[in-house]
Structure formats: structure tokens, C-alpha cells
């Protein structure tokens, strides 16, 4: 009971901070939209012609996921600031559960990811992105986004607790996430990659989750990519969560 209340209070505090930093709100909301229109403009016709499909159906989910993963940089930096600023020490010296501080951070940032995802898909609607599989599938869409973000948020928390500087935090998070994007089938179809890279691209959680989101929005395979995304999330949980809890002590 008290863990849930404490987590809620701390998540509320983080969200309040987020809402107050106009710059951060603008960045988190605009960045995916700029990326969306840019990619559509540059590659839209090319990919539409090459794959015979509608690029936006794939692009919008890929960008939702990429911004969710990239949001982990903000999570890492935010938590690092809290650790260095002393406020986490204050929480630790208070008689509250150790899980609450970590939980509050994860919950608030999942809410932030959902907000960004909602805005991104909303705007993508204007350029042809549609949920065609009904309300339940749409809910599933956002559930997969949460699952995917979960992997990176815990990673961010672990990085924040192990890093020595802000630069180290953003370096350790942004490069892998960017690499993940380019080695995914989010922007470019799998068969456009060199043959030896294809297995990597297929196993990439960003590719898998994109497949799942495409299935849940415009239609396509759902079960297999969703299960693989779940597998990634479980693996990340088994590794990152105990590590985070141990580091926090």
C-alpha cells in the first residue's frame, strides 16, 4: 500500500518537473514530429515505390518507439541530477521504501512516453496513419509501447547510477539507441539491408516492436512480434531491475 502511494507521489513530482520545463516538453513532443515529416518527405515516395506499401503505416510506429527509447536519455539525466543534487539522499534517509524512488521514476517516464506516443500518432493521423483494427488493438498498440519503453527506462536508471558525469549518462544511452534505430526495419525494410546484417535487424527489439505496432494499427502479423517484444522486456527486467535495486542500496 505505502509503496504504491509513495511511488505515485514521486511520479507526480517528476511529472510536475517535466510539465514545468517548457523546453523539455517542446523537445519531447516536437522531435518525433520533425523526424516524422522529414522521413516522410525524404524517403516517403522511395519506400512506397520500393515496397508497394504505405510508408506512414510503418514510419509512425517506428518513430513512436524511437522517441520512447530516446526518452531514456532524459530519464537517465533526470535521475542522475536527482542523485547528485542530494534529493535522493534525502529520500533514502527518510523511512520510505527503497523501491518507491525507482518506481516513481519509471512510472512518471512511462506516462511521459505515452503522452509523446499519443501526440505523435495523433499528428500522424493527419498524414494518413490509421488504427484500423479496432479499439482493443489500439490499446494493445500503446501497451507494446509501454513494454518497449520499459526496457530502456530501467537501462537508463542503471546507467544513471553507474555513471560519473552527465556526459557519460547521455553518451551511454544515446549512441546505442541511435544505432538501434539505424539497424532496425523501422525506417528501411529488412530486405534492403546487406544479407549478413539481416539477422541483426530482425532480432532488434525496435524492429520487432515496430512489426507488432504495425500489426496492431494498420494490420499484419501481431502474435509473433509481440511475443518477441515481451521476451525482450522480460530479459531486460531480469537483468536491469535487480541490478538497479542493488545499485540503489
Amino acid at each position: 500500500m505505502s509503496v504504491i502511494t509513495e511511488t505515485g507521489l514521486l511520479a507526480g513530482r517528476n511529472l510536475r518537473r517535466f510539465a514545468k520545463s517548457t523546453q523539455l516538453v517542446a523537445d519531447s513532443l516536437l522531435f518525433p514530429l520533425i523526424l516524422l515529416f522529414l522521413m516522410l518527405l525524404v524517403f516517403g515516395e522511395l519506400v512506397d515505390d520500393a515496397s508497394g506499401g504505405r510508408y506512414i503505416d510503418r514510419l509512425a510506429p517506428a518513430i513512436v518507439l524511437f522517441s520512447a527509447a530516446y526518452g531514456a536519455v532524459g530519464t537517465g539525466l533526470g535521475f542522475f541530477t536527482d542523485l547528485r543534487g542530494g534529493i535522493v539522499d534525502r529520500f533514502r534517509a527518510m523511512n520510505i521504501s527503497r523501491l518507491s524512488v525507482l518506481g516513481g521514476r519509471i512510472v512518471s517516464d512511462l506516462v511521459r512516453v505515452l503522452l509523446v506516443a499519443a501526440v505523435t500518432t495523433g499528428v500522424a493521423h493527419a498524414v494518413g496513419f490509421r488504427f484500423t483494427r479496432g479499439p482493443l488493438a489500439a490499446l494493445g498498440f500503446f501497451a507494446v509501447v509501454v513494454l518497449f519503453a520499459w526496457i530502456f527506462l530501467w537501462l537508463a536508471v542503471v546507467v544513471a547510477m553507474s555513471a560519473k558525469s552527465e556526459q557519460a549518462v547521455s553518451g551511454a544511452l544515446s549512441s546505442p539507441v541511435t544505432l538501434l534505430l539505424f539497424l532496425s526495419s523501422g525506417f528501411v525494410p529488412v530486405d534492403q539491408f546487406a544479407a549478413w546484417l539481416r539477422p541483426v535487424v530482425r532480432a532488434n527489439p525496435l524492429s520487432l516492436a515496430t512489426d507488432a505496432l504495425v500489426g496492431l494499427s494498420s494490420g499484419g502479423e501481431i502474435l509473433r512480434p509481440t511475443l518477441f517484444t515481451v521476451a525482450w522486456a522480460v530479459a531486460a527486467t531480469v537483468i536491469s531491475v535487480p541490478l538497479a535495486v542493488r545499485l540503489y542500496k
Binding site: 518537473r17 543534487g85 534525502r90 533514502r92 534517509a93
Partner: protein
């Protein structure tokens, strides 16, 4: 076992190869204010962090308000408030939002948390800025808010880690007033500081630590005697002769920088003696004054005395 005091016995803390605390022992009686005095890196913050369960102990034992720090950390956390060296408040939130958040985390309901926040904001003279974000506060206001955050729920034991470091004289004075108010309420207080003056003013007893060891402890009066009274500074030409003349008459005379000759172990009587000695020698002093020993001199004396004792033990 004492109910509300702090007992520290042979506390030891090691970071990798560096020993932060060799052996620290002291007691804070219930309701007393003890000043932990030492230079940067002496182990003051480490001691406070060990006592507030932020760091595990590597040796020795400590109890806070009757709870063993290693055995019952939750009990310790429920009995203490900690105000750190860096104001540990959220600078994006307002003062009020901060205090309400801490109140609710300490299990006050919404209304009680709001009422307590309002009460503290008034008590700490933050009422006017209550709804401004903390980042617009002055250093002194932040510290006061930080102290208030530690007092949202009354705790029998309070740790204040360098509460006035980095504050301007006005901020320092205000902080001192707050601490004196707490002392009057009977809170058990352990306060760390680099300033002799601060420890002198606020603490019933002072524990001096250096390199992770307690090198002296006692009431401010006892310590001052141990350090040897005050220092008489003489600025006079020719300096060589001044030095010689004074050395003939006083025991502990040294030349410090800037053409100043210092006579240590001085008292108001020394001042008259110095003037007489100089007049007899026909030296006109540009400046003669009496001042308290600086922290440097306290440490010089204390560590010097300790080294001497060790020699005796060996010999």
C-alpha cells in the same frame, strides 16, 4: 540505553584504498547540541552519512535514538531528519510543493501536509516566497527550506551537515537563529561545521576530527584552553628586532606572512605586556591586535599536541 541520543563507538569507514574514518567515537546526549568540527575531508560528512544510514559502516557501532544503525536502519530513519550540505530540495517545485511532498511521503494526509507546510513556511520566514519555484530562492532561503523539509515531521534527532557553508553573513545569522530555536525545543542535534565560530556559538560540546580521527573534544571553553587562548598579532619595523625582542619575553612567537609577528597563548594581559616590551625596546608598532585562534591554528595546535603524545608513548 539512552532513548534519544547518539552514540558512536570506534566508527570506521573505508572507500577503496582510502580510509575516510579511522576510528571515531563520541556521544551526543539527548537534547544536546554537538558540533563536529573539522577541515574539508576530515570525515564529517562521512560520519553523518553513516549515522543516517546512507552509508554502511565498515567497523565499530553506532546507535541513534536507541536504534542500532547497522541492525535497525529503518528505526534510525524513522527517528532522524537530515539536512545535507547541498540543499536537497526540488528546485523546479515551489517551496510549498516541496514541503507538501515531503509531508505526504512521511505519511501525513493531504490536509495535514498542507497545514504543516504553511506552518513551516511562516516559521522559516519563507511565507512570501512560498509559491515561487525554489530556483528563484537565495542561498539562505534554500537552506532554510532544506532545514524546514527536515522538520516536516518532528524527529528526536537532527543531523545538520555544514548548514551555513556558502552562505553570506545574513544567511548565516538567520540559520543560526533557526538552529538556536531548535535547541530551545530540546532536539538532539549533531551539526558539522568548518567554522570554529559556528561551533562555538551553537554547540554545547565540540568534537574535533581530522583525517578520520577524533583529535579533541570538550566544551568550547575547554577546547580554547587546550588551543591556548588567543593570538596577539604585531606589525612593527624593524621586523627582525621585533621578533627577537618578543621571543626573549614570550614563549610561543612566530613570524607569519605579511610582516606580522604572532604571539600565541595570549590573553588581554599579553597585549599590555607586548606594548610595554616594545616601548622599552624603542620599537613603534604599526598595529597590535588580539584575535581568536583561526581554525588553522587550532588544528596546528591540536595535531601538534597529538604528535607529541605519540612520541612520548613511543619513547
Amino acid at each position: 540505553m539512552r532513548e534519544e541520543g547518539v552514540e558512536v563507538e570506534r566508527l570506521r569507514k573505508v572507500f577503496g584504498k582510502k580510509t575516510a574514518l579511522e576510528e571515531v567515537s563520541f556521544t551526543v546526549e539527548p537534547g544536546a547540541v554537538v558540533g563536529l568540527l573539522g577541515p574539508n575531508g576530515a570525515g564529517k560528512t562521512t560520519t553523518v552519512n553513516c549515522l543516517s544510514t546512507l552509508l554502511p559502516l565498515d567497523g565499530g557501532r553506532a546507535s541513534v535514538a536507541g536504534h542500532d544503525v547497522a541492525g535497525d536502519p529503518a528505526g534510525v530513519r524513522a527517528s532522524i531528519a537530515l539536512t545535507g550540505q547541498f540543499a536537497a530540495v526540488d528546485d523546479m517545485l515551489t517551496g510549498r510543493q516541496n514541503l507538501v511532498l515531503f509531508g505526504r511521503l512521511l505519511k501525513l494526509d493531504r490536509r495535514a501536509a498542507a497545514a504543516r507546510a504553511a506552518e513551516l513556511l511562516d516559521g522559516f520566514r519563507l511565507g512570501d516566497a512560498a509559491d515561487q519555484p525554489v530556483k528563484s530562492y537565495s542561498g539562505g532561503m534554500r537552506r532554510r527550506l532544506d532545514l524546514a523539509a527536515g522538520l516536516v515531521v518532528k524527529r528526536p534527532v537532527l543531523f545538520l551537515d555544514e548548514p551555513t557553508t556558502g552562505l553570506d553573513p545574513v544567511g548565516r545569522q538567520e540559520m543560526w537563529d533557526m538552529v538556536e530555536g531548535l535547541r530551545a525545543e530540546g532536539v538532539t542535534l549533531l551539526l558539522t561545521t568548518q567554522y570554529l565560530e559556528e561551533a562555538d556559538r551553537l554547540a554545547d560540546r565540540i568534537v574535533v576530527i581530522d583525517h578520520g580521527r577524533v583529535i579533541a573534544q570538550g566544551t568550547p571553553g575547554e577546547l580554547k584552553n587546550q588551543v591556548g587562548g588567543q593570538v596577539c598579532e604585531v606589525r612593527a619595523e624593524p621586523r627582525e628586532r621585533t621578533l627577537r625582542v618578543l621571543r626573549e619575553r614570550f614563549g610561543d612567537v612566530a613570524e607569519s606572512g605579511g610582516g606580522v609577528v604572532t604571539v600565541r597563548g595570549a590573553d588581554p594581559g599579553t597585549l599590555t605586556d607586548v606594548v610595554t616590551v616594545l616601548r622599552e625596546a624603542g620599537i613603534t608598532a604599526d598595529d597590535i591586535r588580539l584575535r581568536r585562534p583561526t581554525l588553522d591554528e587550532v588544528f596546528f595546535t591540536l595535531t601538534g599536541a597529538k604528535a607529541d603524545r605519540e612520541h612520548e608513548e613511543v619513547g
